[in-house]
Every structure is written in C-alpha cells, then in structure tokens.
Symmetry: C2
Subunit: 372 residues, 2 copies
C-alpha cells in the first residue's frame, strides 16, 4: 500500500513544476493525500466495461462500490453478492432516484450506452450525488450543456471517464511538451480504432450510440490531440469512408479521418475506425523532439518512446484503478487534475465531434469559435 | 559479384507470382540478365544528389558514367578526372545538344532543379538519348505530358528517378499486399519530411522548385500511397499550415496534410513537410495484417515490420546502385519493373500534386478523373 501511494504521489510531485500552461494549482494538488476519505460509488449500468471498472476498484485506496443500478435483477444479485453491496443499495432504472436518501452513496458512475447518459446523469445529480459519466459524455453538445447545467444547479461535480488523463506515460509526454522539451509543437497524430464484432451491439445503433467509431474510439485521438498539442483547435476538416454499409448504417461512421488546425500552426491528423486493427498510436512532433505512444489508448500497458529513448515508466496498476483513486481526490479533496476531466472538458470534445460530422457532410473546413 | 546478382535475381524471382495487379510480364522480367550490356550515362547537373548517384554507380554492374554536363567548368574538370570521363564527353548547358553525335552516351540522367527538367529532358530526347529524370518529373502536369510526348516522338524511353520502386523492403510489402497477405487494404499512411536548412536554396524558390515540400519530399508519401494501396485515387482533400512565411514564401508549401480516397474504400492520410524531423514512416493496414516501414523513404537502410514480425531483408547496396542497374535493364533489355518508373507513372503524381494544391486552395474535395 505504501508503495502504491508513493508511486502516485511521485507522478504528481515530479511533474509539478511543468504545468504552467494548465490550470494546475499546487495547493490543491498537494492536498491529494491530505484526506483518506473513501468515495462511495454506485455503478449505473452493469455491462462489460462496468465489470472492468468494478475489478479495478478492488485495488483502489479510496474508492468503494457501495451501490448498484441495473435493469437486470439477476445482475444486481450476482454483482451484489460479489462486491458485497447489500440489497438496500441495489436499484433499477425506475427507482434509482431514491439514492437521494441513501448516505451510503457519494457518487454515481454512469456506464451505459451514450444516448442514456443525459437522462441518467441529470437524475443522479438531482438525487444529490456527484456523477462520473463514461465518454462520450453525451450524444450532442446540447445534451452536454444541459448535463453541466443540471450538475451545477444541484451543486454536484460532473466528471467524465477519461482514463488516459491519469495514465503515467501519457502524463509524462504532456509534461515534456509543457516543459518545452519537444520545442514548438508542429504535428500530432492519433490513430485509434479496432474491428468491431457483433453487428447487433448498441455501439452500431445510431439511436443508442449517437454515431459510430468517432463517438467510441476516435474520441481518444480527438481528445488526445487537445491535451498533447496543449491548444484548442480553430478549424477542422474530415473525410469519411465506408466499405460496409450493411454493418455500418446511416449515421454510424465506419472510418473517419480528421484534421485539426491549432492557433500556433500545429496540426493534428487523426484516424477513427471500427473496421481496422493494428492501430492505437499517438505521435507528437515538435521542432526539438518527438514522443510516440504505441499502444496509446488501450487498456494497457501503454508503451512509449521519445527522441531520448524508451519511456521507462512502470505502472503496476490498471488504468481504471488510478483513474478512480484520482477522481476520489478530485471529488473529495478538490484536487485539480493535470489534464481536466470535468464536464466542460468533455463538452469540448462533443463540440468537435459535431464539427467533424459537419465537415464530413460539407466536405469543407469548419471553423471553430474560440467561444464555446 | 555473383552474390550481388544472385541477390537481385532473388528479388525478382521470388516475387514473380504475386504481381497480377500490375503490368508485370514474366518474359521480360526474366530477360533481366539475358544481357550484360552496359548503360553509358551522362549526368546532367553535378550537385549534391548527383554526387550520391555518381558514387552509387561505382558499384553498378551495368552502368558507367561516360558523360558530364554542367554549367561549372571546374566541376566538369574535377568530376571528369574523378570518374575518368574524357574532355570530349564533357558538356555545358549551351552545347550539350551535341551529345547527339556522341556514341559514348546512351542516356542522360537529369539531376537539376525541378523547373529545368522540362527543357533538359526534351533536349536530351531530341539528341537521341534515353532520359532518366529526377523526381518530380516537372513542375506541372502540362510539362510532364510534353516531356512524354517529346520522348515518344524521339523514339526514346523516359524514366523517372523513383529509387524506392527498387528498394527490397518496399518491394516485399508490395508483394505481400499484391498476394493478399494483408487482406483488403483499408488505410495507408505516409509521413515524409525534414527540416530544411539554407533558406536561399533552390528548393525554397518557387520559380525553380515549382512548389515546396510536396514537390520534393511529400511526393514519396503521395507516390507511396499509390503503389502501397495498389489503386489510383478518386478523390483528394488537403490542408496547409505555415508557421514561417518568411522562409516558406508564397507558393512554397511548408507543411501539407492530404488524404486520398481509393475506389475500394481504402484511404491514404499523408503528411509532407519542410519543417519537421523525426518523420519518414509508411504504414499500410489491411483487414488481415499490416506493414510498417520506418524509415520508409530515406537513403537507407530502410527498416520494416509486419504483423508477422520484422522484415528481415538484408540489402548491402545503396538504393541508387540497385535503381541504376535496374534502369539499365529497363532501357537495354526492356525489362518491366514491378512498380513502374516511366513518364506516365510520374505524370500521375504531377496530376495528384496539382489536385492537392487545388484542394488546399478550395478547402474542399477534389475529384479525380479515371481518365488522365
């Protein structure tokens, strides 16, 4: 346990000096382990990714699964027994607003199909709980804004499950870039995708997913462009190709390439696909050096190298374990993460996703407002 | 010598079965070493790259430098002594049409700034010599068509200096793709560029270069897209960024990203730049496997890997040595190369370069005619 804590503390402290470009507040950062309070989390949606999160939480220092919300009674029973969540803390989608009166639950982690996030996040906030929501935050920027507003109104925090924002190699590259070690950034590339299986799954259903590969996997390249370059894009262009219109129906993108232009003149060129394996690579190039992560956004281990050699950072913990412990610190101690994970951060991705879909349709460049 | 020959023969024979998609004629391919005739070459333009070519030719089996053409008398003297080219075979840009009457010269290799190729190639053909021309073949498709026409009229062959078309690892990836070992091709990526030095060099002069990085280095990614995917693109989109308008003046592109769409639905996403190092990567992805070359277009050694592991092909010879010996076989024995290197092939790149520049200007997709 002390090794673990020492490891995480080291990530925070060793990178402390570098994040002048970000909203990094040393005082709150140092407060990470001022508290040992445990975040009591209810998982909402007990599917495949929730299983991974639940297992990772077992290694957390400061997070405990105290509630379960599912539409499937057998899952509630199985998961309840496995994770020792008493019956009184198990809910379905009809009655989970009653968590309002349950002091065993501090926060709800929403892990359901994208189109359900909006309603479930707002109901959780109205029930007086912090909310962690899987990415993409919602299926439109309009929904995202409403979710932010609802959480603000309820006086609760909204975080989005950007696990890479806490991944040690990722943060080391962000540190190098922020510290100027790569020089002026010229180019970022994110290639993210996989060949998706079962054609009947919700990810291939426009009504539930809100789109295709870009919503689910391309968002890593998109989001990565922003935190790797360290700027917000001012224009976007995009191209779509579809080789299988039966599997990838209208509104469900199979493959999209997109380019983002940044104020400095840096450019990002990215690929998002549901129809290729052998991808998962980030490449950041500056006029003094480069950094490469490959794999870059998988569940781990992430591997990387720079112009100076391999990135030799050992990480013994699942990404979701680090993510959840850090989120506990954000929610309970007001820690500021190095790369933001709040609703406003996630909304920026939704605005860009809409701009990319628009650019695909118009075939031209879509300019982005500095004001969002 | 026999090891050399054995090596090259193996490249040809082992790949023989696979090139059904290309204009591959076993009969002529097998004729490669039917002849031992030596190609007598005059180098036109004695700059930096010509030095590299001249040195590489020293290891050739079937090529000899027999003529020199330059505007600088001292260079003619130095090179003439170094490569044992007698005074009677040395010419300047005013009098080199007289090679017409010189039986010591079979072919002229034009290695001058891009804007000069058109005139020098046409004069060489009119003088009754085969022509090898450095890439890009010319600064416009119109010029390229005129050069092809002039060589045809003179009954002489026109080849363009695409050295990668003979590079063993490159050819192995082409073979794998042609043989279906990578499955249906979905994506190609070529990242080509370097930080260019001296701002006064001809490559940064629009009048001499005809453009910027795309003409000089981006053409490797562009040309590579075509032979790696094995199709001709039907649309192109492109984006330009410029961070240094003093060094990279109007009409001289610093950085361009471009995308090519192919009939099968495959897409290429490429980068061309004069302002970044740490690039030089080809990545070809199919639904059964991938191939990566990195470096992909440098002077060597090229390194590669596929989904099956490292590409373990040893190549003891400079790329230009293989290129020139193969070009001797093309010109003297009518050998058909695996990837074409003739004027028509080079013209396709010029048409695409113009489409990319047009796409940058219009900001939209430029459709390409099947008919060129």
């Amino acid at each position: 346990m002390s090794t673990r804590r020492h490891f995480i503390r080291n990530i925070s402290l060793s990178t402390l000096g570098a994040y002048t470009l970000m909203d990094w507040k040393p005082a709150s950062a140092l407060s990470f382990f001022n508290s040992d309070a445990v975040l009591k989390v209810a998982l909402l949606g007990l599917g495949g990714y929730a299983s991974r999160v639940a297992e990772a939480i077992q290694q957390c220092q400061r997070v405990k699964i105290t509630g379960l919300i599912s539409g499937t009674p057998e899952k509630l029973k199985q998961w309840g027994e496995k994770y020792k969540v008493p019956e009184k803390n198990r809910y379905n989608y009809q009655n989970f607003d009653a968590i309002k009166n349950n002091p065993d639950i501090d926060a709800v982690y929403v892990i359901t199909p994208n189109a359900l996030h909006h309603d479930q996040v707002i109901r959780s906030a109205k029930a007086g709980k912090h909310v962690i929501c899987e990415k993409p935050m919602a299926i439109s920027a309009k929904e995202g804004r409403e979710m932010i507003e609802a959480c603000k109104k309820a006086g609760k925090q909204l975080l989005v499950g950007y696990r890479m924002h806490f991944e040690p190699l990722t943060l080391e590259v962000v540190r190098m870039r922020s510290a100027g070690e790569l020089g002026a950034i010229r180019f970022f590339q994110g290639l993210c995708g996989f060949r998706i299986g079962d054609p009947t799954q919700w990810r291939l259903n426009k009504a539930l997913a809100g789109g295709g590969s870009l919503m689910d996997i391309g968002i890593y390249a998109l989001n990565g462009s922003r935190y790797m370059v360290g700027e917000e894009p001012v224009w976007v262009t995009a191209q779509e190709t579809k080789t299988d219109p039966v599997k990838f129906k209208e509104g469900v993108d199979e493959t999209i390439t997109f380019q983002l232009g940044f104020p400095s003149g840096a450019e990002a060129s990215c690929l998002s696909t549901y129809n290729m394996n052998n991808l998962d690579r980030f490449f950041l190039n500056g006029d003094k050096g480069f950094a490469e992560l490959q794999p870059a956004a998988g569940y781990g281990p992430i591997r990387g190298k720079t112009n100076k050699g391999p990135l030799d950072i050992k990480n013994p913990l699942p990404q979701q374990t680090i993510q959840m412990d850090e989120m506990a610190a954000i929610l309970l101690d007001n820690k500021k993460p190095i790369v933001p994970v709040d609703g406003e951060e996630a909304l920026k991705d939704l605005v860009l996703i809409e701009a990319i879909y628009k650019a695909v349709k118009t075939g031209g460049q879509v300019k982005l407002n500095a004001e969002r």
